[in-house]
């Protein structure tokens, strides 16, 4: 027996094949289209799934506490603090550690990376140590930091600094290559010095890569924060999450994760704003 209806393309064929675009769009651009509402829907769906799973009692609150209880915990810690320290103090100390390390890494890493891109001498000297330590997990050299610099702020900030430093150096270094040779020649033909070429041509064209490296770097910083606050910390979001996990306070763990994510996301939005202002041609 045959099906009398004409057979349209199957789901797979429709996904795999390109359709002509509507006027005003460009045919074949990979991944074009606005995703804002889809992203909102995705977040809402995940929250709903979380709520559903806990409301139906499918998972014990010890493993996955309900959204309401996490929110309640947040309210409680906001009012009463956690381990005798106010919530804002936890947030501020962690933010200060990460952004202190970030500012330091930018202040040293950006000039060093640019210099490595510009000068074979500097590249030859600094490439081996940076490439040596870059792939090592911060947790592996945390003990060394503690042996060398003690258990105070120095070793914590230094550990975060190191995790941010490498991506920033690498970004700045490879950004140097973004300038077209014609742009550089044009500047020299107006009598520019090497410094002027650096300042007016190489730095601005490296900007997109530098900003991306800064975004990646600060992400590494938050990743390393928890490791840095593992030892001898009495304050901080990483400390809060770690000590809560030792007492199986899962809702505090999840809350801490959300707080870190929110701060990191806010910073990322700021960086994207900066990127639009500084490199509109992208």
């Amino acid at each position: 027996m045959t099906d009398p209806r004409p057979k349209g393309p199957g789901l797979w064929a429709r996904l795999a094949r390109s359709r002509p675009t509507k006027p005003g769009e460009i045919y074949g651009v990979p991944g074009q289209g606005n995703t804002f509402w889809l992203s909102v829907a995705s977040v809402l769906a995940l929250l709903a799934l979380w709520w559903l799973v806990t409301a139906l009692g499918l998972v014990k609150p010890l493993f996955v506490p309900s959204p309401q209880s996490v929110l309640a915990k947040f309210g409680q810690i906001w009012r009463e603090g956690f381990t005798n320290t106010s919530f804002m103090d936890h947030v501020l100390i962690s933010t200060a550690r990460v952004f202190g390390a970030f500012v330091l890494a930018c202040a040293i890493g950006l000039p060093l990376g640019l210099a490595m891109g510009m000068s074979p001498l500097i590249r030859g000297i600094f490439d081996p140590p940076i490439e040596f330590y870059r792939p090592i997990p911060p947790l592996a050299y945390l003990p060394l930091m503690i042996i060398w610099f003690g258990i105070g702020e120095t070793s914590k900030v230094l550990l975060i600094f190191l995790s941010i430093f490498a991506p920033i150096v690498l970004g700045a270094r490879s950004g140097v290559k973004s300038a077209a040779i014609e742009q550089i020649h044009a500047a020299y033909s107006f009598g520019a010095t090497r410094w002027q070429v650096m300042r007016h041509v190489i730095l601005p064209s490296a900007m997109p890569e530098i900003l991306t490296a800064m975004r990646v770097g600060v992400g590494f910083g938050w990743t390393t924060l928890v490791a840095a606050e593992m030892v001898a910390a009495t304050k901080g979001l990483g400390y809060m999450v770690l000590s809560a996990s030792q007492f199986l306070q899962t809702s505090v763990v999840i809350m801490g994760i959300f707080v870190i994510a929110t701060i990191a996301f806010a910073f990322d939005l700021m960086m994207r704003f900066l990127e639009r202002r500084l490199v509109p041609c992208r």
């Binding site: 014609e182 742009q183 044009a186 020299y188 107006f190 007016h200 064209s205 509109p280 041609c281």
Partner: protein, 262 residues
Amino acid sequence: MSLKIDHVSVIYPAADGRPPVAALSDINLDIQEGEFVVALGASGCGKSTLLNLIAGFLSPTSGGLTLDGRMVTGPGADRAVVFQKHALLPWLNVIDNVAFGLQIQGVPKQARNRTANEFIGLLGLDGFQRSPVYKLSGGMQQRVGIARALTCDPKILLMDEPLGALDALTREKAQELILKIWGETRKSVFFITHSVEEALFMGTKLIVMSPRPGRITHVFDLPFSRQFQSGTPARQVKASHEFIALREEVLNIIFADEEAVE
């Protein structure tokens, strides 16, 4: 203004197991005030090497270049370069791009914008001062590049296939515009092109170059750009018997070179 190229040779060192390459061999060329010298030749004939020498990006293996009696030892604002593409700074708008050379030389903002505006007007870019350059068409971008080169009042303009990336119609308009500006500013020009017609139409002097080793094989004095400047329309100049005859002669030379390579 007088640029003298005196017995200049450039030999690129051996690389990748290939023997050294004589990019330029015993080049002699004088460019005088107000001359429009066009270099034409098969690929690999050393046109761009010659331009890089004049710009000061490259030093000759032997021989020397002098500009008004002074040795050329490096790039300088007295020799402005117009590139084929990718030479504008996309993070700056039109006026800042045009004023870039003056900014490098430390001219204060107000003064450099005044000069830049003058050349923006000359190149027909008025009204686009604040536009970002990456949104302009190819032809307009090239005009920005020419305006930028002119702002520093160079003694000679070096143009490295400036119209090579433009479509045919825009290209012919740009040729006429460059001749108009050359007529108004009386700059000397050294102009590289792949187009025989463009070369004949624009230059007052044509040098035809041949590869292996790169050398000047023929020099022609050209009347056509002056005909255009004294009022003959471009199409009529390019359709004249004289123009066509010379075009065929030059094409024969260049095709002979291309075949010799293969």
